[in-house]
Amino acid sequence: MSMENIINQAGISDILDNEKTASLIINKDKIISKNTVPGLIVDAEEIKDGVKIDITLKNNVTIDMPVHLCFGVTDKKAIQKIKLNLKIGQNSSMSVYSHCVFPFAEDVTHAMDGIIKVGPNSKYSYLERHIHSEEGGIKVIPKAIVTLEENARYKSEFELMRGRVGRIDMDYEVFCKSFSIMDMSVKINGRGNDIINIKESGSLIGESAKGALTSRIAVRDNASANIYNKLIATADYARGHVDCKEIVMDNATANAVPIVEVKNPKAHITHEASIGSVDSKELQTLMSRGLDEEQAVELIIEGLLS
């Protein structure tokens, strides 16, 4: 399969034809194409087994069209290391859609180390969507340290629902300064012998900083999920919420560890977590409308991960 096919699978071929859309296309450790728009600087350099990327959004720049990053691997066996340094200036805004497509993976490692800084009064939203092979031979290791300056907004969504997960070891750490807001969500559908390890940590270190960590995980067959969500509030009027919901079927296992740490009497953090089989009432409601058990379960999981 060529990189063109991967771009088609990601559903972005038309988008990339638009020269007003910034993009960066990478196959394993090769830079295939790059397009930038005014105010956005994208420097990419091929390194051993990967690519080093520096992205800078200048001050007072708003990019209306999402920036598209495509990280593909057309080989069955490969290592792809992405070193990402992303900096958003002040009073600026952009969205990034990241397409991670590994349709033939039998023994592929995709590792991303990111350092992300969102400047004062700026907004950054990031959607990472994975398309994997049905073999499960992939290891995804996304790591990032994110810093939100005063009054910054950060929203990230991670979705891994097409193909087998393989193994994922996610580790994100976010530091929120005064009046900044972070909103992170993860949606993963695991099966076979997939292994899902999610570690998200948010530190609300500035006055009135707000944070939400949301995870929605479904595991079946012999898959396992370990979700470790940590939210720490040390500043006045910091507010946060941790919300974890996991559906477990067959021989799958799931652990959820929501940790909330409040070190300031004026701060407030809440959490909720539920792990278990598909809710019986939801299941029986759908079955009483004529769906068989398998159809009903699929619909409930589709809803959970939507």
Partner: protein, 239 residues
């Protein structure tokens, strides 16, 4: 024409006899009420007819159109045209109202879904894309539940405590939907202890302590229920 027949139905759960030798017959196209105070077995009877989890191991038998449905799973009973609306409808994270309703019927077009929503008093433009989740009020969820039942075009509908926790405007919408079901020839079982809901039925069964204590035309049963059951000092201990 006989649609549903229950013969000698008894249900024991953890040593408690929740249903005790129930016998009843329902004709096609009629609206029935199962009435009685809280805790007498009305909902249990509805769940047993539907075949919900925990209500499948019973003595006696249930016949639908002359054939036993005792060994049928919930969805198999639904495929025959039986369905149930819960007293407290389920919430579904991430499932839109449009998806929920269209999943409930066969070959339901988007226009059909919009029409059904109008039939239960919900503006499609405001509700189609909303989820059937905690952001809907209790009354809205009841109407969505009823809409999904209208989409099924069922032969037998069990409606459990329709009026609990909803306002008068919503109950009017629900009564309109009941009339719609009636006009389509559905047989309806209204499980209730409400006077206004009871009046929607032509024939009623009065339950006490897991038994059918009395049955007859609704006004007769209503009179007995109002005069004898409501002030009864020995609830769940039938004379």
């Amino acid at each position: 024409m006989l649609l549903l027949e229950i013969k000698n139905l008894s249900l024991n759960v953890n040593g408690n006899k929740l249903l005790n030798n129930i016998n009843l017959s329902l004709n096609k196209g009629m609206t029935y009420a199962v009435v009685g105070p809280n805790g007498v077995g009305k909902t249990t009877l509805g769940h047993t007819i539907m075949g919900l989890e925990g209500y499948r191991e019973f003595e006696g038998d249930i016949f639908f159109k002359g054939k036993s449905i005792k060994n049928l799973d919930v969805y198999e009973r639904a495929a025959k045209g039986i369905t149930l609306a819960w007293q407290e409808p389920a919430r579904f994270e991430g499932i839109s109202i449009e998806k929920f309703i269209s999943s409930s019927g066969k070959d339901i077009s988007p226009d059909d879904v919009s029409k059904i929503l109008n039939d239960v008093g919900m503006e499609p433009e405001n509700y189609l894309n909303r989820n059937v989740d905690k952001n809907l009020s209790g009354g809205e969820r009841k109407k969505v539940e009823l809409a999904s039942i209208l989409a099924m075009k069922p032969e037998l509908v069990i409606l459990d405590e329709l009026d609990s926790g909803i306002d008068t405007e919503t109950i009017e919408n629900i009564f309109n939907a009941i009339n719609y079901l009636k006009s389509n020839g559905s047989t309806i079982i209204l499980i209730t202890h409400s006077q206004s809901v009871l009046k929607q039925a032509e024939y009623a069964f009065l339950m006490c302590h897991g038994k059918i204590l009395k049955e007859g035309k609704t006004p007769v049963i209503n009179k007995y229920f109002t005069r004898k059951c409501l002030p009864c000092g020995h609830k769940n201990e039938p004379d």
